[in-house]
């Protein structure tokens, strides 16, 4: 057996093993739901999962599946299959790979368990609305749409009323789909656990404000899975407590995610799932750590609107005012706040062909951040899953030029 590099071993996050164990158990649970008599709901990543947990319905995330497809480099094959079904290659690659995967049960885990119901929340995009309509036709199962009006400049009373009413409709939908009464007391408890989980996730991300940062955005992309998938469950809280303790130990021991951290960068948009390792190594080799990102922080960004003593009432605002459902200027303000909070030297933006609400407006955010904080920025043209939209050579050249610029600025 080859000798392990002690320097590398030191930097490995030990909680990873536990995380894999939890996710494996979760997928086994979901895939055997039919035998155990549990119901499965497919839900969008920004959707309110707590009512499902309160009803013992297993939430399954096609977007999380999309990320797995991307990371295992199976995206091009599945996207091509969707294109053969008539879906334009310009459509979201999560949607394309999920739509074709459902028909062939392909992908890294042999397809997702068949849904008993679909829950689509429009707070992340209009794409999910169309995607879930496609799946509702394909699987012939009931579809619930939670329509969260876009908050260009604010959250109005009529928006709150509308979303709040829909939460009642959502609960009625679940009662009908699951064939039993909704337990409001249970929701209170799940809500408390959800908020606790989000606080812990935020605390984990906050440790990266330390120099050197004990974890990078690339680590966060991985550890994110629980707050997305199992939000509102005790095991998520236990896991993030453990991860937080490990991060604090790393801080005490001076262990950084990147050896010899010299530059601290922010990441914007979804990961390029099929090149996370490559990108992580590229930046690390130049002494740069991606200390925070706008993506993983979105799952705790609504904490300011949450009320653990009145969870159901506060859900409307929490689920409507999320990062992607707000104006470009408010997004830019949040990025600037992150630059300050994490003492970032630069901003790396992934212009993601698949995601229009995330990407259109990025040029303006880039300019606003430059104006307000004067830091260098880099735009990477790619896609979260479809490798055909990524050119490694030019990207590498741009990263090198960007790092050179950072170096010159630091030296000055």
């Amino acid at each position: 057996m080859a000798e392990k590099d002690p320097e590398k071993e030191k930097r490995k996050i030990k909680a990873v093993a536990k995380m894999k164990e939890i996710m494996t158990a979760y997928y086994i649970d979901a895939k055997t739901a039919e035998q155990t008599g549990k119901k499965v709901a497919w839900i969008t990543s920004g959707g309110p999962v707590e009512p499902l947990i309160a009803m013992d319905i297993i939430p399954v995330y096609p977007e999380n599946h999309g990320a797995m497809i991307g990371a295992s480099k199976m995206g091009v094959d599945l996207c091509t299959k969707a294109e053969a079904m008539g879906y334009s290659s310009d459509l979201c690659s999560y949607a394309r790979s999920d739509i074709s995967c459902a028909t062939v049960n392909g992908g890294p885990i042999g397809g997702l368990p068949r849904p008993d119901m679909l829950v689509c929340c429009t707070n992340i995009c209009g794409t999910v609305l169309k995607w879930y309509e496609v799946q509702a036709r394909y699987f012939g199962c009931p579809l619930f749409i939670l329509d969260t009006p876009f908050c260009h400049t604010g959250f109005h009373d009529e928006m709150r009323r509308y979303v709040r009413r829909q939460l009642d409709e959502y609960i009625a939908f679940l009662e009908s789909a699951a064939g039993r009464r909704f337990d409001y007391d249970r929701l209170k408890e799940v809500g408390r656990l959800s908020i606790e989980g989000q606080r812990l996730w935020q605390a984990v991300l906050d440790t990266a404000a330390h120099r050197p940062a004990p974890l990078s955005a690339f680590d966060a992309f991985f550890h994110l899975a629980l707050i997305v998938t199992l939000r509102g469950q005790q095991q998520t809280i236990d896991y993030y407590r453990m991860l937080l303790a490990e991060m604090n130990e790393r801080i005490a021991a001076g262990i950084g995610a990147v050896p010899d951290e010299r530059y601290r960068l922010l990441w914007d948009n979804l990961p390029v799932w099929f090149r996370t390792k490559w990108l992580s190594e590229k930046f690390a080799a130049a002494g740069a750590c991606l200390v925070a990102d706008t993506y993983t922080s979105a799952w705790c960004g609504s904490l300011k609107y949450a009320d653990e003593n009145n969870f159901l009432e506060s859900m409307a605002e929490c689920y409507t005012r999320i990062y992607l459902n707000i104006g470009v200027d408010e997004m830019a303000r949040m990025v600037v706040d992150m630059v300050d909070k994490y003492a970032a030297d630069g901003l790396v933006m992934h212009s993601n062909r698949s995601c229009k609400p995330y990407s259109l407006g990025q040029y303006d955010i880039q300019r606003l951040v430059q104006e307000r904080r004067g830091i260098p920025t880099l735009m990477i043209e790619a896609d979260m899953v479809d490798e055909r939209s990524f050119a490694e050579g030019p990207t590498e050249t741009r990263i090198e030029a960007f790092m050179e610029m950072l170096k010159t600025r630091k030296a000055a």
Binding site: M85, G126, H152, V328, R353, L360
Partner: protein, 373 residues
């Protein structure tokens, strides 16, 4: 005298037309994106609604704000605004439509000085009581936003007048479509396109005056005998701002008999109930008109609507004209095509970019399709 002269002038240069129309009328011009913008309220506020389509200018100012994977409509509208070509507008209204128009609203608000800016964040679904109540709430807010920005008061009486006017306009446009449907090779597709597009640009008080003689002129067109041979085609998609495509289809042996466009039947279908609360009546029409794919009203409604239209209009085939990078339409295309296939109605897909491909190539594609059907 060409009965369509005024329509043609407005379509050829909407900015100049609206500038001179508003100089005469004293009205303020208010731009709108998408056929869900509740124009009746703009009219009732004494303003002149103008739907924005964007022109493709030589300069590329919009490229500083939008990536290459944004559709030509959004890019064109932003380009015009940044280049100052939309400075005739006193204001602009963004109804929430798709992910791209949603961001266009932000980009306009942040980068285009001058005109006031209103978001009317309509619901994304239209099939529930809560969504319809919310839609009415949005119209109420829109009414007070307009009142504030235009410094006017919008009375129920003025809303009723607007309803009456829009009902008349929509009835006349429906009549235009019926005329063409009855005599499709006597009435040119591009003339219909011109009238319908102009109906979103012309001063609406003027429109109700010039539409009847235009319709009369078309009614007097002799029935064309070639119509027996020409193949009846229905167009489907978002919007089509390339009238030359109609000529290509006609010259390839087809006739356009109907469409399912938001710059066509989806935009003008539906009569508003004149009785009762006018705002609620307007809301009801927007909730019930043929639905755009960016809005949800059931998972099969659009296919059922399209197949029904194709059968009713005796279309031999359907041509999908889709704007590249328009996600809502691209998502619906496979299931719409499948539904047409199931009903034995052949279809073809043509994806439109800002610039159309070479004419020869286009003609060949339409000829091949028309030969097949």
């Amino acid at each position: 005298m060409d009965p369509l002269a005024e329509f043609r002038a407005a379509v050829a240069d909407p900015a100049s037309y609206v500038r001179s129309a508003t100089a005469q009328s004293g009205k303020k011009a208010v731009g709108t994106l998408c056929s869900y913008a509740p124009e009746e309220l703009i009219y009732a506020a004494g303003a002149h609604p103008v739907r924005l389509f964007g022109t493709s200018g030589a300069e590329r100012l919009a490229d500083r704000h939008l990536q290459s994977y944004c559709c030509s409509l959004v890019r064109g509208v932003l380009e015009d605004a940044l280049a100052g070509r939309s400075d005739f507008l006193a204001g602009v209204v963004f109804p929430h439509t798709c992910d791209s128009i949603q961001r266009l609203s932000d980009l306009w608000r942040l980068n285009v000085p001058g005109a006031f800016h209103i978001d009317a964040v309509l619901p994304a679904r239209l099939d529930t009581a809560s969504a319809r109540d919310y839609l009415l709430d949005v119209l109420r807010r829109f009414r007070s936003d307009l009142e504030r920005k235009l410094r006017v008061s919008i009375s129920d009486e003025s809303l009723r007048r607007a309803i009456d006017l829009y009902n008349r306009i929509r009835e006349m446009l429906a009549r235009l479509y019926e005329l063409r449907n009855e005599n499709p090779c006597g009435i040119r597709g591009r003339d219909v396109h011109t009238i319908v597009k102009a109906s979103t640009i012309l001063d609406r008080d003027r429109l109700v005056v010039v539409l009847p003689p235009a319709l009369q002129a078309l009614e007097d067109v002799h029935e064309c005998t070639a119509g027996n041979k020409a193949k009846r085609v229905l167009l489907a998609g978002g919007l089509c701002d390339h009238p030359e495509l109609y000529s290509f289809i006609e010259e390839a042996g087809g006739v356009v008999v109907w469409d399912d466009f938001c710059t066509g039947t989806r935009g003008f279908s539906g009569t508003i109930d004149g009785d009762g609360d006018p705002l609620a009546a307007i809301a009801q029409r927007y909730a019930e008109r043929p639905v755009c794919p960016a809005k949800h009203r059931g998972i099969r409604e659009r296919a059922e609507h399209l197949v029904r239209l194709a059968k009713e209009k005796e279309a031999r085939g359907v041509v999908f004209l889709l704007v590249k990078f328009c996600d809502p339409h691209a998502f619906d295309y496979p299931y719409l095509k499948e539904a047409l296939d199931g009903a034995g109605i052949p279809s073809m897909l043509f994806e439109m970019e800002d610039q159309l491909p070479a004419e020869g190539q286009l003609r060949t594609r339409f000829e091949a399709f028309l030969e097949m059907i």
